[in-house]
């Protein structure tokens, strides 16, 4: 194969590439923002991992005394919240940012400044939530924050305010990003890239953006109710006023279940890129993979109450939600089978990303099967709120999402940084992770079915749980070692890894046709796509010979500019099926022309999105302080003032509105 054979001696460099702190604070380049997301999310992932490690050390034996009940409750709350909102979601966002424009042949996302805004809101929200540790008021209501426990009556401290306000801030980020990517995918695809030619990662991301757009408003409202209850004395969750505590649970899980697919589908997408590449076969059943992804997303909105089988909804709701939940197993199963069929008959290369992808297929299957086990409400009554559930969703989210994301990091690291990660260390990382993960989470199935409830900071001796817990704890230590190796490998490869060139793996999609790392404008010429695997069309046309291609004159390739069809067809010939001539050595040169030299208009760097983000966080900080003032007033029998918080909220709003106007009234890019 002609992959990675060109003699390449350095990563790509560009003229006029800005450097320095300011360039990062003002960047609107989707690739740089993607890298920012990657670093930030990996940092939070380590924080969440450390929290998990302390949890496992506490539970290593019966009646552990490493941490107090209070600290433990904060640890498991923040572990869940961090891993979901500050770890896996932004890791996925790193790939959305970096990859979607490259995969669809675009020069940037639809709204580059909004994209920067999303990142800044996310990182400030993550910091906001973790500042709670420094104030000894880390959230302690569980990541699910069930009312009435989280109302002021039962949680008077700032803990829940940090959590609820932090999630609101992160919600702003997720929603802004989702509008952006939705628009990008709908509207920024290169000529010829019709929906059924989109790379599978982009497809799954597309579904995820719909889920985000539709699910986040629901949690927003649930959190607004909670904050109103806490700040203004409303009655949404006040049981003495007749409120139904289940309102929160319904709203939360209407968001919470699609959230599960928000976490897993990007990993499915990554694996669907990696498996075909290292099997040297097109993805088996591409259309079915697309439809199953859509179906999973769609059904994901109709299963939320399976988190609530123990609340006593009655037999009919239990039955309905059991059946919809079982239904969702079908498209998920189809994905598993299609991945195996993709590998079947291939020429499998067991690179690190491939190992992680196979790991996902193997481990997610276990998570899926245990999921079916509690889709059955009566069986769930013995499983819910036990360690069986902990085992289940860690097989889904660690064995699924994280395996896929690690595979994605190893796979796309060369595209991001121009260098390959070390394969040997990568494999050690994989095996430690694979073994550690099974050792940690498999025994939890047994602990749960043998009666161990979740979220307990200690357990008594002689309950039959000691062995399972010790095993889990040892497994988590292995995972920690694996993570250390990964971090070492990441930074070592970043500095001194083997130079990768454009296409180190023999990939099939557009991102592999451009230099590594790509220039700020991505594509010197916007590519024209004639099949699902544009790069294989060029490099190994025999791989895609059976797949439908565009012929000259097909309407997919008509060029539309600013809403009007120019009437022009993209020129196609047997030797020019993508923008790259077939024998082009895939950009082995290391100094590339700048966007300015090529006459490509690029968005201007700007600090304004960061300013708006800061305004938002100041405003929310004012609300946090308001909550503190209210508790102080309650303690001092009505004495006190809300002056400070009012000033801060107003200052935040002024900064938000002011910088927003400044942003919206300034042009995106220079006029030529």
């Amino acid at each position: 194969m002609a992959t990675a054979t060109a003699p390449i001696h350095a990563t790509a460099h560009y003229h006029e590439e800005p450097t320095g702190v300011m360039s990062w604070l003002t960047t609107v380049d989707h690739k740089r923002i993607g890298v920012l997301y990657l670093y930030s999310a990996l940092f939070f992932f380590l924080v969440g991992g450390l929290e998990a490690l302390i949890i496992r050390m506490q539970l290593h034996g019966p009646n552990g005394t490493l941490v107090s009940a209070e600290t433990y409750n904060q640890l498991f709350t923040m572990h869940g919240t961090t891993m979901i909102f500050l770890g896996v979601m932004p890791l996925s966002a790193a790939f959305f940012n970096f990859l979607i424009p490259l995969q669809i042949g675009a020069r940037d996302v639809a709204f580059p400044r909004l994209n920067a805004f999303s990142y800044w809101v996310f990182i400030l929200g993550g910091i906001f939530m973790n500042v709670s540790w420094l104030m000894a008021a880390a959230p302690d209501g569980g990541w699910f924050g069930y009312t009435p426990l989280t109302t002021r009556t039962y949680s008077p401290g700032l803990n829940i305010d940090f959590w609820a306000i932090g999630l609101q801030i992160l919600g702003v980020s997720s929603l802004a990003a989702a509008f952006n990517f939705l628009t990008t995918i709908i509207n920024m695809r290169a000529p010829g890239m019709n929906l059924m030619r989109m790379p599978m990662f982009t497809w799954m991301s597309f579904v995820v953006q719909f889920l985000l757009v539709l699910a986040f408003p629901v949690i927003t409202i649930a959190l607004v109710f909670l904050q109103f209850d806490r700040l203004f004395g409303t009655n949404f969750y006040t049981v003495s006023a007749g409120a139904d505590p289940l309102l929160w649970q319904h709203l939360f899980w209407i968001f919470g279940h699609p959230e599960v697919y928000i976490l897993i589908l990007p990993a499915f997408g990554l694996v669907s890129e990696i498996l075909p590449t290292f099997s040297r076969k097109p993805l088996f059943g591409y259309p079915v993979m697309v439809y199953s992804g859509i179906l999973i997303g769609f059904l994901g909105f109709g299963v939320w109450a399976h988190h609530m089988f123990a609340v006593g909804m009655g037999p009919i709701p239990d039955t309905v939600f059991a059946l919809t939940t079982m239904l969702i197993a079908i498209p998920t199963g189809v994905k598993i089978f299609n991945w195996i069929a993709t590998m079947h008959g291939g020429a499998l290369r067991f690179t690190t990303p491939m190992l992680f992808s196979i790991g996902l297929v193997a481990l997610f299957t276990i998570g899926g099967i245990s999921g079916i086990m509690h889709s059955s409400p009566p069986a769930d009554l013995q499983q819910t709120d036990t360690y069986f559930i902990v085992a289940h969703f860690h097989y889904v989210l660690f064995g699924g999402s994280m395996m896929g994301i690690f595979g994605g990091i190893y796979f796309y690291f060369p595209k991001m940084f121009g260098r390959l990660m070390h394969e040997g260390l990568g494999k050690v990382h994989f095996w430690l992770m694979f073994i550690g993960m099974n050792l940690t989470f498999f025994p939890m199935h047994y602990a749960g079915l043998n009666g161990m409830p979740r979220r307990i900071y200690r357990y008594d001796a002689d309950q039959g749980w000691d062995g399972f817990n010790a095993m889990s704890s040892w497994g988590s230590y292995l995972l920690a070692v694996g993570m250390l190796i990964f971090i070492f490998n990441f930074f070592r490869s970043r500095a001194a890894g083997r130079v990768s060139g454009n296409d180190p793996w023999g990939g099939s999609t557009l991102e592999w046709s451009i230099p590594s790392p790509p220039p700020d404008y991505n594509f010197a010429k916007l590519p024209t796509v004639t099949s699902r695997y544009p790069l294989w069309d060029v490099k190994s046309p025999e791989l895609t010979s059976d797949i439908p291609h565009t012929r000259e004159g097909d309407k997919d390739n008509r060029v539309k500019v600013a809403g009007s069809d120019t009437g022009a067809n993209v020129h196609l010939s047997s030797t020019d099926r993508t923008h790259q001539p077939p024998e082009a050595p895939m950009h082995t040169e290391t100094r590339l022309p700048s966007a300015r030299a090529l006459g490509i208009p690029m968005p201007l760097s700007t600090i304004k999105p960061l300013l708006v983000a800061i305004g938002i966080v100041i405003m929310f900080t004012g609300m946090l302080i308001r909550s503190h003032e209210i508790s102080a007033m309650a303690a001092a029998a009505g004495q006190g003032s809300t002056m400070l918080s009012t000033i801060i909220i107003v200052a935040g709003v002024v900064m938000l509105v002011g910088s927003l106007y400044w942003w919206l009234l300034s042009p995106l890019e220079e006029h030529h």
Binding site: A69, Y146, P148, V239, G242, D244, P245, L246, S279, K281, P282, L283, F284, V311, G312, G314, P315, T319, A322, L323, M326, A329, I330, G333, V334, N338, H344, G345, A347, L348, F350, L355, A362, I366, I369, M373, P377, A379, D380, L381, Q382, D385, W431, F434, F442, P443, N450, G451, R454, R455, I456, Y457, Y459, D460, D462, Q463, G464, W465, G467, E542
Partner: protein, 423 residues
């Protein structure tokens, strides 16, 4: 290296299976695999089907994966793969087959849902369960009494639980007797089952399964299954007023409050019965109490091993006096929260009418003996994080209200003697 993975997995599974096989009831006391009620058995039957089909799918998928991974690894000189990009027949097949399996699971599932959520039989014994942060209140309305943290259930008779919460959401769960049900504010939930009539006297661990705040882990309870006659005796006794047991020892000997916590395996029943003063309301014959006679020796899993937190000192060598304790009790803030029939009537905390006959205190957290009870009264929030009961020890401050306790150790010893005598 890759070939090692499967055997590893297999070894892990086998190892765990062996661990399980080696385990008796005593070693897995909270297992859901050994159900003792019809409700538990229904769930277990369903579980067997789920496990069977889950295993079939697991073996099939993982075997296919291993086969593909081993068979199609790239070899030098291997021809380029065939470029299959889909196969409609296959894809329909692996859509339909899982659907069939799901139907096989769904049918018994739905049947069990409706059977287990039907109305409880009219003859059932009703138990009103009220969840509190962090203890359980049990009321037997047909018998007209309340108790806390220890349930007695007659074998062979259906028990219908009416579940309510006083504060936040809890979840009522006795793993060996059946599935859990959430205990929710502003609504009543229902759960019923029939302990097997073939059982003798037995004790089961119960838990709060829904996160309910700081001491969620410390919100446990015990369920004792006894024969119907024993249950009736127990219920009649519970309904009666406080009974102060007569001492075997000479008057004035009192209940020594051990300075050190008892050995882990010690039976929680107090070592010596307390003395009774002539002024005591009722004096019972000094014989083993009902619970002692039914459960002369509790299994290890039902005896709490929670260590006493560091720094909870209690003066050595004190001997409590029941009568002094009785008088003291009526003058302390205890009466503001606890019911002792005929003595105090405020139902905020657990009912103490027969507290001396219970095996544990603080919702299954500590054995009910003088050493633990004394420390509990002296400083409950230190014994159980977040406990709402304020510290009674002199000078100790309530973390919630900052009010200071007033009792010295000798007074606490008297109250302990009194409470432990309430059989």
């Amino acid at each position: 290296m890759l070939r090692l993975r499967r055997p590893l997995m297999a070894a892990l599974t086998v190892a765990l299976a062996l661990v399980l096989a080696a385990c008796s009831q005593e070693q897995l006391p909270n297992t859901t695999f050994n159900p003792r009620t019809e409700f538990g058995r229904d769930i277990d039957d369903l579980w067997d089907k789920l496990l069977f089909w889950g295993t079939v799918v697991f073996v099939f998928v993982e075997a296919a994966l291993i086969f593909v991974v081993v068979r199609y690894r790239r070899r030098e000189g291997h021809p380029e793969p065939k470029h299959v990009h889909g196969n409609t027949t296959l894809e329909i097949l692996w859509t339909v087959l899982p659907a069939v399996i799901l139907v096989l699971i769904a049918v018994p599932t739905v049947r069990t849902i409706f059977r287990s959520q039907a109305e409880a039989p009219a003859s059932a014994i009703q138990v009103n369960v009220v969840g509190h942060q962090w203890w359980w209140e049990f009321e037997y309305p047909q018998y007209g009494f309340k108790t806390a943290n220890e349930l007695y259930l007659p074998t062979g008779r259906t028990v219908s639980f009416h579940l309510r919460s006083q504060d936040v959401i809890h979840s009522f769960w006795i793993p060996q007797l059946g599935g859990k049900r959430d205990v929710i504010t502003n609504r009543t939930n229902y759960l019923w089952f029939t302990p097997d009539s073939t059982m003798g006297s037995d004790v089961w661990n119960g838990f709060c399964a829904e996160y309910c705040g700081e001491s969620h882990a410390n919100m446990k309870f015990r369920a004792f299954t006894v024969s119907q006659e024993d249950f009736e005796r127990w219920a009649a006794h519970q309904k009666s007023g406080p009974v102060i047991t007569a001492p075997a020892a000479p008057p004035g000997a009192g209940t020594p409050v051990a300075g050190a916590p008892p050995a882990a395996a010690q039976n929680p029943a107090p070592a010596q019965p307390a003395p009774a003063d002539g002024a005591a309301a009722t004096v019972a014959v000094s014989s083993p109490t009902l619970s002692q006679s039914l459960f002369p020796r509790l299994p290890e899993y039902a005896i709490p091993k929670t260590p006493i937190p560091q720094g909870l000192d209690f003066q050595e060598g004190l001997t409590g006096d029941v009568e002094r304790g009785r008088q003291l009790y009526a003058r302390t803030p205890c009466v503001g929260c606890h019911v002792i029939q005929g003595v105090s009537a405020s139902p905020i905390g657990p009912n103490l009418t027969h507290v001396g006959s219970r095996t544990t205190i603080a919702a299954g957290l500590y054995p009910n003996d003088a050493a633990h009870l004394a420390r509990w009264i002296k400083n409950a929030p230190a014994m159980k994080p977040g406990a709402i009961m304020p510290p009674m020890g002199r000078g100790l401050r309530d973390p919630r209200t900052n009010a200071a306790g007033t009792l010295d150790d000798a007074q606490i010893a008297d109250i302990v003697a009194y409470l432990l005598a309430l059989k």
